[in-house]
């Protein structure tokens, strides 16, 4: 009996999975996003944008043939050790191009797999420069951390009048550490003082870090951490009566964070890619789509507030379609060759890649939470000279 089971398992290992063919030829786009873990909420919202775009434009004509676009999802679990198998899963599914991921660390961790398989990847909201630097296969539609860090530093210094900033990042998180480093460079360049501390993964008790910030007499509390931690920090800051503003990066742009801040006295300010209202047609369509699909609404945190990451997912999808059309083929290598010259007018603005494969972006939106309603309010559009 045991032997037969063993034999069966052995056979399963060798026989590759069967694929079911449809009438229309299929082009596969990989969605490499976290659906669980610390960045699960953000990953799901980013995926929503891609799914909405896919619902709107389910087919694409490549080289005169109409293809059905199939999204292949792989959950990288917000963790660099689960990332390789998720990446490999996409590669073996035979995707032509990959979108993602939310979180720079997992993007870097999956990068080599796409490279080895000659598949291009389009980063949607991974802002760490390491994602694209030195790679010819990784592109990105959002701005970068050196830019974002500078914007935040300028804002903290000029608008908030801060001279001392307390920075808190997660230990072992490339995104947090990178953005804080760039912020520090820029802020110290402006003559300010930066104190940086790290917390270990899995921390829930931030009270002492908040105490530290006030002990250091900081003017701003900068914590560009994942949604899971930022909601904790905001709620504990509210309980402790933190009087200084909490400053965050693009990861904090989520209705989950806004909800956490609702009804408190904590001022939360962030930089992000998109502000609701900038493109009415998209906003309406997206909201309607969310409200039609209860599952999707749950993935968006239970309401239909638009997160910037969804917009980036939406734009990324059209970027991928444009690249497929330009390549005239579903072969990964061809798409990769076509990508550098592709340009689109996305919801988040005109997208065009520079030499390293990064979108040329000159401005970021600054938003704050209306603590009475729990909504994001537009503050300003910040550029760097």
């Amino acid at each position: 009996m045991k032997k037969w089971i063993a034999l069966l398992l052995a056979v399963m290992m060798i026989v590759p999975a069967f694929a079911f063919a449809d009438d229309m030829p299929v082009v596969k786009i990989g969605v490499y996003e976290p659906a669980s873990g610390d960045s699960g909420a953000g990953g799901k919202q980013e995926t929503l944008g891609v799914q909405y775009a896919n619902a709107k434009t389910p087919t694409v004509t490549i080289g005169g043939v109409e293809y059905k676009v199939e999204l292949v999802m792989a959950d990288n679990g917000s963790s660099t050790d689960k990332a390789p198998s998720a990446a490999q899963q996409l590669v073996s599914a035979g995707v032509s191009v990959v979108l993602g991921s939310y979180g720079s660390g997992v993007s870097i961790a999956g990068s080599q797999y796409f490279k080895d398989a000659n598949i291009p990847a389009i980063g949607l909201t991974c802002t760490n420069p390491q994602v694209t630097a030195g790679n010819s296969h990784y592109f990105r539609v959002c701005f970068l951390d050196p830019f974002q860090g500078t914007v935040l530093a300028n804002y903290a210094s000029k608008e908030l009048g801060a001279s001392t900033v307390y920075c808190l990042g997660e230990l072992g998180n490339d995104y947090d550490q990178g953005l804080i480093t760039y912020f520090k460079q820029a802020f110290e360049g402006l003559g300010g003082t930066v104190i940086k501390e790290d917390f270990p993964t899995g921390t829930a008790d931030f009270t002492s870090y908040l105490t530290n910030a006030s002990m250091y007499s900081a003017d701003v509390f900068f914590c560009p951490v994942s949604i899971a931690y930022s909601t904790q920090i905001i709620q504990q800051a509210a309980a402790q009566g933190l009087e200084i503003a909490i400053l965050g990066g693009d990861t904090l742009d989520s209705n989950v964070v806004a909800d956490a801040d609702k009804g408190t006295n904590v001022k939360v300010i962030i930089t992000t890619f998109y502000q609701e209202g900038a493109n009415a047609e998209f906003d309406e369509g997206f909201k309607a789509w969310l409200n039609e699909n209860p599952d999707m609404l749950t993935n968006n945190g239970g309401n239909d507030v638009i997160s910037a990451v969804s917009v980036m997912g939406y734009d990324g999808y059209y970027m991928a379609l444009a690249a497929l059309q330009a390549a005239g083929s579903i072969d990964g290598a061809a798409v990769m060759a076509a990508l550098p010259s592709v340009e689109i007018d996305g919801v988040s603005g005109h997208i065009k890649f520079d030499d390293t494969g990064d979108a040329i972006r000159t401005s970021a939106f600054v938003k704050t939470v209306d603590t009475a309603t729990g909504e994001w309010l537009f503050v300003t559009e910040q550029t760097v000279d």
């Binding site: 659906a35 001392t164 270990p200 008790d205 105490t211 250091y216």
Partner: protein
């Protein structure tokens, strides 16, 4: 590097106090978990790796029950009841069949249960953080001396002392308590003396889970996000606390937990404290080691005094 410090805090006490407060609060919550560890270890000689996850499950259950619209005064007893049920069930399903197996097997089973609970919660929640409901009164903000905090911070130590007092009375005065003491002294002999071992063990798990449930209400009111891994760290730290205090000893576990909680928060603020005291001239990044410190303490204790602060020495017979 020179730092430009604005403002000044007058005394060392004012500097240290907020950390002490955080520490005592979290220490009290660790204590409630640590009691479960120490009691189970005392009787079964088993590190119940799943105990931290029972604590986490109590949090998740609360989230879902509160979301169903039940009034809060009903939610809390219901959560405690379900938590107790889960603890009882775990013992019956995963530990009881292994009573005569080697200790390593039971410990592996405990790790298996922990893995199962975490994955189950991952599946149910979809891997996303869940917002813990706000419990009125204890969630209110109060001002104590130089610090501002939630009322739960203040309530916790008192509640812990009250519960420990009740528990010690239970163990010393009731029949089941006597049976527990007997079983923890000598498993086999008490079995021969007609003590219903299974009932005693179940009672132990029920008490442990009940306290973990109470601990979870307090803990998640303070740190209101629950995810499948939420129980792992508090669980491990509570275990360290139990070892620190001398495993098998309830007062030991409680004192150990308070010490661990306070030390951990002092480490987080050590950079500040050292600076304010004029010992260092800038941050050293010691906060990085707030978790590692707990484990270093564990290793030191195990090596220097394996029986902990209040543990009894056991000699093996050859």
């Amino acid at each position: 590097m020179q730092y430009n410090w604005k403002g000044c805090v007058p005394t060392v006490w004012d500097t240290v106090f907020p950390y002490l407060l955080s520490g005592i609060s979290v220490g009290g919550q660790y204590a409630l978990i640590a009691i479960g560890y120490t009691m189970v270890y005392g009787i079964l000689r088993l590190i119940n790796f799943a105990h931290g996850d029972v604590f986490m499950v109590a949090g998740i259950v609360m989230v879902y029950i509160a979301a169903s619209g039940l009034p809060l005064w009903l939610c809390i007893p219901l959560v405690l009841l379900i938590t107790v049920g889960i603890g009882f069930l775990i013992e019956r399903v995963a530990y009881k069949p292994l009573r005569s197996a080697p200790r390593m097997s039971v410990m592996i089973s405990a790790i298996g249960v922990s893995y199962t609970l975490q994955n189950l919660v991952l599946y149910i929640t979809g891997g996303l953080n869940k917002q813990y409901p706000t419990i009125p009164w204890i969630s209110e903000t109060v001002v104590i001396g130089p610090a501002k905090t939630k009322l739960v911070t203040v309530v916790t130590p008192f509640l812990v002392i009250l519960l420990v007092f009740a528990l010690v009375t239970l163990i010393n005065k009731t029949k089941i308590g006597m049976a527990m003491r007997a079983v923890s002294k000598d498993f086999e002999t008490s079995q021969l003396m007609g003590i219903k071992i299974n009932n005693v063990i179940s009672a132990t798990f029920i008490i442990g889970s009940f306290l973990a449930g109470v601990g979870s209400v307090l803990y998640f009111t303070n740190y209101p996000t629950v995810i499948q891994t939420s129980g792992a760290m508090p669980g491990l730290k509570a275990f360290v606390a139990a070892v620190f205090g001398g495993i098998g000893s309830i007062p030991g576990a409680v004192i150990g937990a308070f010490i661990i909680g306070v030390m951990e928060n002092i480490i987080k603020g050590l950079d500040v404290i050292l600076f304010k005291a004029g010992i260092t001239s800038g941050p050293l990044g010691l906060a990085t080691f707030s978790d590692a410190f707990t484990f270093a303490l564990l290793i030191i204790i195990l090596v220097v005094k394996p029986t902990g602060l209040f543990g009894e020495k056991v000699t093996d017979k050859v």
